[in-house]
Subunit: 472 residues, 2 copies
């Protein structure tokens, strides 16, 4: 059992794994959503040392059930309402499996032309589906690429912004080339602060915009004031990050206004629409991306709410030259005719890593299996459930809605105060019947109900609501 | 066809995909190794717009053969000798498939305890298999984590190094907190220069160490001189990157000496052993990691030569506090009891992104299927083939070996000069019978013969050699 797995063995065990996954999706409701494991439980069931001789695949599958499953928090469970969803649909899983089977590297066009071209094409398809401005398409000066995550997208946007605002000086001089500043709202994901730390501008360069207490959206007037003050003090504004669907409450920033202000001062406007952006596949929700046509870069995660398993962050730039200028290095061992012809994209120059998995395959299988109509049905179903849920919250005097909820995230609290809210949340999560997480809204502890699992039906939302009510 | 894929549909199409992959691995030799596609070929065969209605999975599989396959360069082909290998073994593909099916996020221990604990445990197992110093194990002050790629590992090593050498000042002040310098050899992978650009120290901060023309290894004396001069000029050395198996020729830097010099000046020593490091599973090759016991961080890629499909970079630190200090940010929506107890690892604090796929599963399936013996057989087979190949090169007066070749990379050229070498390489690659890439050795164009595909047998190496000879 220590030779390579033969094609016939692969067939046999592959069918077992496919069946295991199909069975898992059928029996998902039988598991507690949140793992009941304590720290160290899983490791205590694993041998201290690796095996000297190989083992049969069946023994691994047996241990998967025995050792691993009790330590799993079930993100695909129909009653998973925590964080944001992480859709792993059938067609995506199979597209990703094909990518594993092919095992190609798409770092350069030349290292597998189909990996690059399908990716460019799928990002154009997705731009069409979302109604994005033509500036982001590959036949303009821009184009799309798959990043690992929205955090990686924020990082490369910052690096490209620094490159452009410094006229390329940061490439050699680093962030010492100026005194750069970055702007985003208090509600924006922590990835922006992390990007500031990783990219060497430091967290002190990050200015947090005040938010409107009613909408939780960034205050554009505050951005105008900060920009003016910073420029007067000798700083160079490099990047403004607007959120379309901020992590805490799903707030929608005034993207167009923020973009105008950024551009007045030469800064780059990046839009983080990690969770919410994909909702624009529905015509009636396309308004959430108002103003994005003015952005320098935009990202949304098919790996959250658009049925494509992790990792698949769709990232577009309006000016690919700035991105490539910031990230391209060509050592001898990567030189090739196609690259030197200038006729191709080499996606290693659009990202931090060199290596690239063929991730466009899973986007292709998803977009073709569902078609535009299937994607819209998926999003509309969750939005309708969330609106119904919000209605139940509003109708129960013990509860209070704390933020707008136009999509599928509802933020609410018990009127009795933070202690009561916390206690209700913990009780529901500890029961294993549902899993929700929390945030702070205007200083108050709030429960986040994020609806988005492939398997979630009305009965699961209703059961969660009854469980929460029972704790009130 | 625009509803979700049912478990029964998933079973049926899943078996089709598994069979497609098994068939593909059986018929790999029937493909030209290097894709014969021209720029735009693949896109020209794809519809301009995404489908409005969903399609059947069979139509996607048909287009996979018709549209995608002609644009594939076959990294799993037994005659793929380019770059470095990218092993996608059966057990790894199935482990990765299980990760897709579970669809969990391991960003926090709490979001799926098994994802974190299995990862910690597998990195300890791998440390055992490679004979790494106990300082890198999780029961010390250090520990291991899976990064996306060696480029990401270099970046987080640099960010951690800047954090430590500045006493935490870079966290807020960024790289303006000092005048930092980074050191690595001319032969080191371009990822180090890219990390310097991304992390905001700039490429001017990077000092390239001279190499020994005979061994291609970094000249430690040059590092000593540069460090002394930089410190005298007011710079703060932050990071030295040593290579174990540099990309061009597989050079092995004097890690221990470089580490001593780095530490004399307070700098961090990171070891990039992306390709070669895994060879240390064999006792007789463990010497390649001499000196690593003094390093601050070390990485090697099971996704290159250790049978685990992309992405899986194994990265260890001796002092996890510096890494976590550099990268940890805790917003309200991620707070949880397990994190606050301090009893768990939250791997989001060990990497740039927040989201994390359950990549430890594929490492687990690989290490259990093969066992230590199977891993050793895999490495030894390739090393033996490379030694035999090098013998053939040495015995043919028209050719010349250009660098040491203790592992499975052989660098050689035609004595007739660069034009002859280039022409021979192009002819072999254009034939589709084999695929090799090139590098520069002491200014001379050299062919790189990197042996490492799962399917490569003696006859493939022999055929490649005969094809090269025929062009000489």
């Amino acid at each position: 059992m220590n030779a390579h797995m033969s094609p016939d063995e692969f067939r046999r065990h592959g069918h077992q794994v496919i069946d295991w996954i199909a069975d898992y999706h059928e029996r998902l409701e039988s598991f507690p959503v949140l793992s009941q494991a304590s720290p160290g439980n899983v490791r205590a069931s694993l041998p201290a040392d690796p095996p000297e001789r190989g083992e049969g695949f069946e023994s691994v599958l047996a241990d998967l059930d025995r050792v691993i499953m009790p330590g799993i928090t079930h993100w695909q469970h129909p009653s998973f309402f925590a964080f944001f969803p992480a859709n792993a649909s059938g067609p995506a899983i199979l597209g990703d499996l094909l990518a594993s089977g092919l095992g190609v590297q798409g770092m350069l066009w030349a290292t597998s032309p189909a990996a690059t071209e399908l990716e460019t094409h799928m990002l154009d398809w997705l731009a069409t589906l979302l109604g994005l401005d033509p500036r982001f398409r590959s036949d303009s000066a821009g184009g799309g690429v798959i990043q690992h995550s929205a955090s990686d997208a924020a990082l490369v946007a910052l690096v490209a912004a620094l490159h452009r605002v410094s006229g390329g000086a940061t490439e050699t001089a680093g962030t010492a080339a100026g005194r750069f500043t970055v702007y985003t709202s208090e509600q924006t994901h922590s990835s922006v602060e992390k990007a500031c730390r990783v990219a060497g501008v430091g967290s002190a360069a990050l200015r947090k915009l005040r938010i409107d207490p009613a909408t939780q959206a960034a205050d554009a007037g505050h951005l105008a004031d900060l920009l003016a003050a910073d420029v007067a003090a000798g700083y160079t504004p490099a990047l403004v990050v607007a959120s379309v669907g901020a992590t805490g409450t799903g707030a929608l920033d005034p993207v167009g206004t923020l973009a105008d202000l950024a551009h007045e001062h030469g800064a780059w406007l990046h839009v983080d629409a990690a969770w919410a952006g994909v909702a624009a596949v529905c015509d009636e929700l396309r308004w959430i991306n108002a103003g994005v046509e003015k952005a320098d870069s935009y990202c949304t995660n098919p790996h959250k709410w658009l049925l494509t398993n992790f990792d698949c962050n769709a990232f577009w730039v309006a000016d690919r030259a700035a991105l490539i200028g910031a990230l391209s290095i060509l050592p001898e061992y990567l030189r090739n005719e196609a690259t030197e012809s200038g006729e191709v994209f080499d996606y290693r120059d659009w990202q931090v890593p060199l290596g690239r998995r063929f991730r466009a395959l899973k986007l292709w299988t998803v977009l073709r299996w569902y078609g535009a109509r299937g994607l819209r049905d998926h999003i509309r179903g969750h939005v309708a459930l969330a609106q119904e849920f919000a209605g139940w919250v509003a109708a129960d005097g013990r509860f209070e809605l704390l933020a707008p909820h136009p999509l599928a995230l509802v933020t609410f609290a018990l009127r009795a105060g933070d202690a009561a809210t916390r206690s209700a949340l913990h009780a529901v999560n500890a029961s294993g019947d549902a899993y929700l997480t929390h945030t702070l809204v205007n200083g108050r502890l709030a429960i986040r109900m994020a609806i988005g699992s492939v398997l979630t039906e009305r009965r699961h939302v209703e059961a969660a609501w009854h469980a929460i009510q029972a704790q009130a």
